[in-house]
């Protein structure tokens, strides 16, 4: 028969006070503080969304997406008779799409190529300089980029306010975001994948194009989507470059409207207040959707 004795008096000199009730109380207080703080953190977005839904929902109908913005007289008459304001923001939606698509066409190739360059030249002087400049670019106020767009494009290239000038300003905003996210995702591709390709005798440019970029594709896409959602709501640079338009315009060399510009216009017109809510709701919805798609892509990649 084997008997095992366990010495329970390992350190008899240490006496534990039974203060478990006090500890439980402290625990509870701490938990309550955390809950209160997190409610404070999320309350702005909840309040904003609920306000926008309540105030803007009534205005969202088919016309909202297919008609251009009404003039102030139409809006005044509708309000007087208690109807919803006629018309919509179709000129803003098409304008925003046009401006952002052209901005992406400019920023994505340059940003991705620069990001790949930075990844391939870690620790080199010139690459570090570019990385730092790109970080500084990220801190440049958007109104300044608007002025740049005005000086470089409005005055020199398109000789007047144009969608293209707005796209240039927004693409400069997107660039540092895409550069950084490209570099970071490329870093996450294991080195041995690159070596595997090199060991097969694959030339350098094909390793980048056919192995590295496909392997980090979801990361690149996420960075691009976040950059787009970042510039979707930009107003200040567009005020100085695309100006705005009451018509649907698809000519990149002509003044063009955009959803944030319309919101600004509606704000300056007391009869259009209701359209502010619905336009803002639309814009936030768009940004949220892009963010959710980006999150889904990240989650899929991490699986």
């Amino acid at each position: 028969m084997i008997s095992i004795t366990i010495n329970r008096n390992i350190s008899p000199s240490i006496k534990f006070k039974d203060n478990s009730n006090l500890r439980k109380l402290k625990n509870r207080i701490f938990k309550i503080i955390i809950i209160i703080l997190s409610i404070i953190t999320i309350s702005p977005i909840v309040l904003i969304l609920s306000k926008l839904v309540i105030k803007g929902f009534r205005q969202i109908n088919i016309d909202f997406f297919t008609q251009v913005a009404p003039d102030t007289f139409e809006a005044m008459m509708a309000i007087a008779s208690g109807d919803v304001i006629p018309g919509g923001i179709a000129n803003g939606i098409t304008g925003t799409l046009l401006i952002v698509i052209i901005a992406s066409v400019i920023a994505i190739p340059i940003g991705v190529i620069t990001g790949v360059y930075l990844y391939e030249n870690q620790g080199k002087k010139y690459a570090n300089l570019i990385r730092n400049l790109s970080d500084i670019l990220q801190g440049v106020p958007s109104i300044v980029l608007g002025i740049i767009g005005y000086l470089w494009v409005v005055l020199r290239v398109t000789n007047g306010f144009s969608a293209f000038a707005g796209s240039v300003a927004l693409s400069i905003m997107m660039l540092p975001l895409i550069v950084r996210s490209t570099e970071e995702t490329m870093k996450m591709v294991p080195e041995n994948i690159k070596e595997a390709a090199a060991a097969l005798g694959v030339p350098y440019h094909k390793i980048i194009l056919r192995v590295m970029i496909p392997s980090s594709f979801s990361g690149l896409l996420t960075g691009i989507l976040l950059a787009i959602s970042r510039v979707l709501g930009e107003t200040a640079p567009l005020l100085l470059t695309t100006l705005g338009s009451s018509f649907i315009n698809l000519n990149i060399s002509k003044p063009t409207s955009a959803v944030p510009l319309l919101i600004w216009n509606f704000y300056n017109d007391p009869n259009m207040i209701n359209l502010i809510w619905s336009s803002s709701l639309f814009l936030i919805g768009l940004v949220l959707a892009l963010n959710l798609i980006a999150k889904r892509i990240i989650a899929r990649r991490e699986k």
Binding site: P190, A196, A197, A199, L200, G201, V202, S215
Partner: protein, 260 residues
């Protein structure tokens, strides 16, 4: 080299006075001279940090992917200096398998096998491609396991299967030499045994150079062994001779487990 009891006629590879430094004047490989026998398994052994992987990776000029690695001396493939060859052509003749299985994560099993052709833009007919994939996978005894899931991602396979897939990828391009850098260190004993059997089978057609941390692996499958210590080639000989009757005292100490 201190001791060499090998006399290799018509070697496929000759390493001459090879020194490699990662940091200026600190050599990870010092003045190595060795000749590699055709259609044989040559094992490079030694304790961690002895320069065995560094030596192996010099043979297909993998070091050139990274800056600041300084290489002196030469390596001849069929009497032709590899440092004067085009790296791309060289790497097509000398395939490599890595420590961790690294199938391309975006490609299917099928595409992984023919990745060498695909990424190099070699156009093949579908029939040729099917043939190469089937033959390469049969060579690594993976065909029966994956023939119904050829178009699934290679990364869904087990570690051992992935490693055999990586060997198939190297074979598909029909190299003359296959370099393996501790190919079984990330695998379990059963997968290791299968890879070892495979290598013994493959030496009939290819020349195999294997880095291993595992002495018993070198003893089991290799024909010739190089023992390296602190960047120097200490002893090079027939494996069965070296394991039973080592000449250098350091080799003996390592083989009897006194360090390593």
């Amino acid at each position: 080299m201190k001791e060499n009891n090998l006399d290799i006629q018509n070697p496929i590879l000759s390493i001459k006075d090879l020194s490699i430094a990662y940091v200026q004047d600190k050599y990870a490989v010092k003045n190595v001279n060795a000749e590699i026998e055709r259609n044989a398994i040559t094992a490079i052994m030694g304790p961690s940090g002895c320069g065995k992987s560094t030596l192996l990776r010099a043979i297909n000029r993998m070091h050139e992917l990274y800056p600041n690695i300084n290489t002196k001396g030469e390596i001849l493939l069929h009497q032709e200096n590899i440092y004067k060859m085009d790296t791309i052509k060289l790497r097509r003749k000398i395939g490599m398998v890595f420590q961790r299985p690294n199938p391309f994560p975006t490609m299917s099993i099928y595409d992984n096998v023919i990745a060498g052709y695909k990424l190099n833009g070699v156009k093949l007919k579908k029939q040729q491609r099917d043939e190469i994939v089937e033959k390469s996978l049969q060579d690594v005894t993976l065909w029966s396991e994956v023939k119904d899931s050829l178009f699934k991602k290679g990364t869904f396979l087990s570690g051992g299967q992935q490693q055999r897939l990586c060997i198939a990828r190297a074979l598909a391009y029909n190299p003359e030499v296959i370099l393996l850098d501790e190919p079984t260190s990330a695998l379990d004993p059963i997968a290791t045994a299968r890879v070892e059997e495979l290598l013994v089978e493959l030496k009939k057609k290819y020349t195999i150079v294997l880095v291993t941390h595992n002495m018993s692996q070198a003893a089991r499958i290799s024909d010739n062994s190089l023992f390296m210590y602190l960047g120097e080639l200490v002893e090079y000989g027939k494996t069965n001779v070296m394991f039973t009757n080592p000449i250098d005292s350091r080799t003996e100490a390592y083989l009897t487990g006194q360090f390593g």
